[in-house]
Symmetry: C2
Subunit: 357 residues, 2 copies
Amino acid sequence: MKKHNYSAGPCILPQEVFEKASQAVLNFNNSGLSILEISHRSKDFVAVMEEARTLALELLGLENKGYQALFLQGGASMEFLRIPFNLLKENGKASYLDSGTWASGAIKEAKAFGETVVVASSKEENYNHIPKNFEIPTDADYFHCTSNNTIFGTQIKSLPETNVPVVCDMSSDIFSRQLDFSKFDLIYAGAQKNMGPAGVTLVVVKEELLGKTGRAIPSILDYEKHIKAESMYNTPPVFAVYTSLLTMQWLKNLGGISAIEKINNTKAELLYAEIDRNPLFKGSASIEDRSNMNATFLLNDASHAETFDKMWKEAGISGLPGHRSVGGYRASMYNALPLESVQVLVDVMKELEVTIS
Amino acid sequence: MKKHNYSAGPCILPQEVFEKASQAVLNFNNSGLSILEISHRSKDFVAVMEEARTLALELLGLENKGYQALFLQGGASMEFLRIPFNLLKENGKASYLDSGTWASGAIKEAKAFGETVVVASSKEENYNHIPKNFEIPTDADYFHCTSNNTIFGTQIKSLPETNVPVVCDMSSDIFSRQLDFSKFDLIYAGAQKNMGPAGVTLVVVKEELLGKTGRAIPSILDYEKHIKAESMYNTPPVFAVYTSLLTMQWLKNLGGISAIEKINNTKAELLYAEIDRNPLFKGSASIEDRSNMNATFLLNDASHAETFDKMWKEAGISGLPGHRSVGGYRASMYNALPLESVQVLVDVMKELEVTIS
């Protein structure tokens, strides 16, 4: 039976990426060697890393604009630490928007470094919306936000205007929608949603931002050292970088971010229309902040859960339960999820309505 | 043509590991889903992580002895930083043995934290031997050493006796030889030699050692937080952990470390015997400290290099050139390299002798 993988991450990637990655584990570039056994300094892998770094900037429209792309290890949680180390001046000030669990984690790490202003928080409302109308201190070293909140199903639709450098955790919506990425000074994203397998993090940073804190930065946390080493300061996660490259190549061939954005909008509109139409369901997040990546929704009557759960499982759907802090359901509709899978879910929701009535 | 992969790392892994890993990228555990698209919280992957953590301790003979195994990200270079954060007390003292480039890198990171005593160094002799007869300060918080020096081809044969906790970077000889591992308090190893693909690091730590520094430790660097989260503090590098598990299963089925040690000894004896016998070659490292993992050697007459290089390439050998800081050749004979590959190299060395004379 055809699977419809709604996992929140690690998540579905394009089928052709799985096929090429699987083949490379047996025989990479017809070398007779596995991608897992070649030196990261070999000509073939150096070419992979170079293309990955270039293509990430190209997809974001950031080539030749003073940005560098890095593929690092540790997940977004490691960047929570690298960011204040690299950007928060001694006796400086950081500013953060608290829009969800991961934003909150980033704030916690920054607080250990220095003054950290939380400009606004939706925590009291269980992060069901994106805070707005806040002020960013003009003397902050940077402003940090999370563009999409996987757990709560909210997404920033318009960025605040500010003269302060903007740092953004785009882990769960990178490469999914067109933005003016040049308004960001540092973008980072754990790969395991729209970019590749777990085990690598993309960091895109405006180089002129670095080297200004006066801090002694441990080598492995220092973005400048990683840039100088062309993202090979130490052995990179070779397979995860290669598979990320395959995914970025797939996206480029599809027409890039603007092409996938149209598909993502269609998928999200289809599902949210059903959530709003079907009297059995309601959305969890504020309508104006709804995420096009993660749609969170609840049954109005929890007693229908058993029937509904049985139905979507029988339809080949997996990964639909919501995060424990929200409950209900979460349909993660990342780039590689086909429209067909959303239609299957919508059909099950309609079928539930018929079954119940 | 059959390939003989002498790469220093990432390096050869067992062929059956490549085959199983490749299959899992298409269809993991007959789930119809790729290992790359499943949640790290799924039952199937939680089982992988649990078995990997248990098997690592089992192979080292450290079950039920107060140790915990973790699979983290960042490579050994990240542990250079985590170790002082977790073990070096405020106003405490660290002690390090400087036996090579990586040891030196670990020392550099520790120095940023506090008093760091280098008990001995072979740097002046280009690290061609392991320093001996040094004293470890009895008031040190820990003693750090590197069991095998990949670049220089040296290996610690007997550990110093000390009452100070022993921390060891075993990146390039983990699981290759039997030691009394209970003499170590913390062992760490980047996977990409004997354990798996690049992108994951094994850390085995005696739990009672932790929580005693008085330092505020950033969450992602805190071993206690990773232990509490069962090595899933954040999304782990799923594929690298799974492939490491496959490699450890292969080793267990082979008979464990004591079985592979015999094979590794045979391979190393075969090659070093030829290096010592053949008048065209000489070893780079002190004989008593020679590594069974990485044999470094030189041509006595560099003018034969062109002929030799052509011959070993024609024999299907790859990855033989030495590190730029030593020159000559480096034959990395990790667990998965078959004896047959060593015989092919030895035959080429003999053939060179015939050709030259």
